[in-house]
Amino acid sequence: MLFTVTIALIVLLLVFHEAAHWFEMSRRKISVVEAGLGFPTGRLL
């Protein structure tokens, strides 16, 4: 049980890490999808 909690905490850390990037991107009105793909999606999405 505690092992599962530890692994869940580590996964949460990774989500926290990415969420910090997404937060800063959204503050600068940068599309997370476009930043992830590395090219502008235009009318694709």
């Binding site: 505690l2 092992f3 909690v5 530890t6 692994i7 905490l9 580590i10 949460l12 850390l13 990774l14 926290f16 890490h17 990415e18 969420a19 910090a20 990037h21 937060f23 800063e24 991107m25 600068r28 940068i30 476009e34 930043a35 502008p40």
Partner: protein
């Protein structure tokens, strides 16, 4: 796109991840003792520790842009020195991959506080690793903007070298896990 942003703005985006992990470690490291029922906030020394921790966290959040632009790359350089020192002193025992992490997680969890302590330690690891000035990592993406000023060719060499280094690192760490 991020490439079009000035240095400090793009650094704020890439540095946010390592800083968030550093914040989590700070919170766990300094506030973990308060989970112990014997530790009381009535004690002035404990009040000082708690206040200093929250002030430090507030400072990191407030100064995140400057910290991302100037401190995170320096932290990455310090991490390189730390890794080289650890490898010279302890050899392959100094590094561990996913297998080592899961093994250590199994060993260290005896109660919730110890699980939190381990997560804090992993958080610091994640922050330091991502601060490394090697391209696909966050610290590398910050430095990439500066390298880009030296010319496109230099930037491409920096990126290819970084990607090759990270792939070699992943392979090396997994192999060292297999032979432990």
């Amino acid at each position: 796109m991020i490439e079009a942003l000035p240095y400090r703005e793009s650094a704020a985006i890439f540095g946010a991840g390592p800083l968030a992990n550093l914040l989590f470690w700070l919170a766990v490291f300094f506030l973990e003792p308060f989970f112990d029922p014997g530790v009381s906030l009535a004690n002035p020394q404990n009040q000082l520790i708690a206040t200093a921790t929250f002030s430090l966290i507030a400072f990191v959040i407030y100064a995140r842009k400057a910290l991302s632009a100037y401190v995170v790359p320096l932290l990455g350089l310090a991490t390189i020195a730390l890794v080289v020192f650890a490898l010279l002193k302890f050899g392959s025992q100094a590094v561990g991959g996913p297998v080592s992490i899961v093994k250590a997680a199994g060993k260290s969890s005896s109660n919730f506080v110890s699980a939190l302590h381990f997560a804090g330690f992993m958080s610091l690891n994640l922050a330091l690793f991502n601060a490394l000035p090697i391209y696909p990592l966050d610290g590398g993406k910050i430095v990439d903007k500066l390298v880009g000023r030296l010319g496109e060719r230099t930037q491409n060499i920096f990126r290819m070298f970084g990607i090759a280094l990270v792939l070699a690192l992943i392979l090396g760490v997994i192999l060292s896990d297999c032979f432990k």
